[in-house]
């Protein structure tokens, strides 16, 4: 019996099972026509391979390494999911700063709250706490994701234990949908504004706020930092034993566009696509989060520690921290491959972050006005983003 074309082709690739291989070899020895067939398959396969090799990437076209790409993936998934990027930025699984997890853990209200600083006018109402951070402006600091600590796992008992013992966490309000801007506004106790430059009715919802307090155990935090390769970062001594409080008010979300739910599971039709919505635009607004820190803490020092944790050198952190008013500025770490610029929006300065500045792209625009922080995310061109943001009523 002659060998089949498939067997001969697999023979050429060395992909036959042992028994098949023996059978085909024996047959080829005895059958000139199959031998000829095998040779012509072999020749054609070689030719096709040679032609296809024109498509192989040359060294200049080499792709990003898996390590660099995993960072891109974090950015990608955060924008794809089209949950407000503002939140996603720091979400535990898909946030841009996923890699920063260990860092954020430590930061929980300590280092991160680098931004936390005292604001003179509100000192009077801050009670025992003399430092109160409130967002009045938004800035960005570029960081190189590849500089982040690699050999550090958040799962380590030290951090979990630290959080379990020292972090109190309480949700305020509950997640629910709202029928109108007025309803959402009364749930969240803020005046809700919506863009008039977008067509269609938004899906409005509110999400619970959070109250946290964190008792600082400085030696343990320093030792965790040290394990993460940041042994040279010194947090202010005054922090030890202090309680840092943070409050995140309820968030109002307005989503424009149809969000498709991911339906196809792995193994089913992969072309069915995941739940992403290239046309969705999302506006998030909330009263400024606040952070209270105890009296006498050098907040600029915490600010510097925070910058170091984003991969900055000590010298860079030093000089950058001097350009920031830490008491009022929300400093957002932006991966260095994304474009960022300060733009004039809604009568104030905002921070515009674009994945690609040259054409329609995923964007995030954050600004603070009259005690409210706004974040607009979606997909579009730079002028379109500003047009939407400036149409808030």
């Amino acid at each position: 019996m002659h060998s089949t074309q498939g067997q001969l082709r697999a023979f050429h690739d060395g992909e036959l099972s042992e028994t098949e291989l023996a059978r085909v070899q024996a047959h080829l020895g005895a059958c000139p026509s199959c031998r000829q067939h095998a040779e012509s398959l072999h020749a054609r396969s070689g030719h096709v391979r040679a032609v296809l090799s024109a498509l192989d990437p040359v060294p200049a076209e080499a792709a990003a390494s898996a390590r660099a790409a995993s960072t891109h993936l974090e950015v990608y998934s955060s924008t794809k999911e089209n949950i407000p990027m503002f939140q996603k930025l720091f979400a535990p699984h898909t946030g841009i700063l996923y890699r920063l997890r260990p860092v954020w853990a430590v930061l929980l209200v300590v280092a991160v709250l680098a931004a936390a600083i005292s604001l003179p006018p509100v000192r009077a109402i801050a009670g025992n706490f003399l430092g109160l951070f409130r967002v009045q402006q938004v800035s960005a600091v570029p960081f190189d994701p590849l500089n982040l600590p690699e050999n550090f796992s958040f799962d380590q008992p030290g951090i979990t234990q630290l959080l379990t013992e020292n972090l109190k966490y309480e949700e305020v309000g509950k997640a629910q949908n709202a029928a109108s801007a007025a309803e959402a506004g009364s749930l969240a106790s803020i005046p809700v504004r919506l863009p008039t430059g977008l067509s269609g009715a938004p899906k409005l919802s509110v999400q619970p706020g959070v109250k946290m307090s964190f008792k600082v155990d400085l030696p343990r935090i320093q030792s965790i930092l040290s394990d993460a390769g940041f042994g040279d970062i010194q947090l202010p001594k005054e922090l030890d034993g202090a309680t840092v409080k943070a409050e995140l008010p309820m968030i109002v979300t307005a989503m424009y566009g149809e969000y498709e739910q991911p339906e196809a599971a792995a193994g089913q039709d992969p072309d069915a696509g995941g739940g992403w919505c290239p046309s969705c635009t999302v506006l998030v607004q909330l009263a400024s989060p606040t952070i209270e820190t105890p009296e006498g803490v050098d907040l600029a020092a915490i600010g510097k520690a925070y910058l170091r944790l984003t991969g900055m050198s000590a010298a860079e952190a030093e000089s950058f921290s001097q350009t920031v008013d830490w008491s009022t500025t929300l400093v957002i770490p932006v991966p260095n491959f994304a474009a960022r610029e300060t733009v004039s929006v809604d009568g104030v300065n905002g921070m515009l972050i674009l994945q690609n500045p040259d054409y329609a792209t995923q964007y995030m625009l954050i600004w603070a006005k009259d005690g409210i922080v706004y974040a607009l995310t979606g997909y579009g061109t730079r002028p379109k983003v500003l047009e939407i943001a400036n149409s808030l009523k």
Binding site: D13, A54, Q87, F154, P270, P289
Partner: protein, 205 residues
């Protein structure tokens, strides 16, 4: 930034991405991008599509995880929220390459339509006049266009098979990617090569 920190409950800070996805990503990323580069000829586009592929895998892992946890609440216990074994597609490799080649092939076909349009509009002539490239590069680009033109005209499954094989997948991997038996791969390859060669010759200049 303070915002989401506040939203994260301590216990949920533990990664649910887990080592499984990470391992798959590390293992397959270079080859998935290479497959997509061959199909699209553009590094950025290839990487974007590859990100899409892995993002879908990631999404599916999570979807499945949640589903399996709902069906069997104890499934994820003791693993600190990492995907349970049932949360993984039975063969993530095959799934990855199936999705990658489909996305890449669709991009190739739509690019070809765009390319024809641009050609008619004379855009290409303007471009090449503005940026004189070394002759070798021009030739390489032309040859690549020709090869992709052939792939675009082939039956999708054949074209995908050729690209995957050329990217170094074994017959077992090819079978998984194309949802067929390893024993059928030889036959499919022989057919695909015949189809490719016929179209390539007929498109010769």
């Amino acid at each position: 930034m303070t915002v989401t920190i506040g939203r994260v409950k301590p216990e949920s800070l533990i990664s649910t991405t887990g080592p499984d996805f990470e391992a798959i990503f590390q293992q397959h990323w270079p080859r998935v991008v290479a497959v997509l580069f061959r199909l699209t000829g553009d590094r950025d586009e290839a990487e974007d599509l590859a990100l899409e592929v892995f993002w879908r895998l990631h999404t599916n892992l999570h979807t499945n995880l949640h589903t399996s946890l709902h069906r069997n609440p104890s499934a994820g216990e003791g693993r600190r929220g990492r995907p349970s074994p049932t949360g993984l597609p039975s063969d993530p490799g095959g799934w990855l390459y199936r999705v990658a080649t489909r996305l890449g092939y669709n991009a190739l076909r739509s690019r070809k339509r765009r390319g024809l349009y641009e050609q008619e509009a004379g855009a290409r002539a303007v471009e090449s006049a503005a940026q004189p490239a070394p002759e070798a590069q021009v030739e390489q680009r032309q040859e690549r266009e020709r090869v992709r033109g052939v792939l675009a005209r082939m039956r999708p499954r054949s074209a995908q098979l050729l690209i995957l094989r050329h990217s170094g997948l074994s017959y077992t991997e090819l079978a998984a990617a194309l949802s067929t038996k390893p024993g059928s791969v030889g036959t499919l390859l022989a057919r695909a090569e015949k189809e490719f060669e016929r179209l390539y010759r007929s498109q010769g200049r």
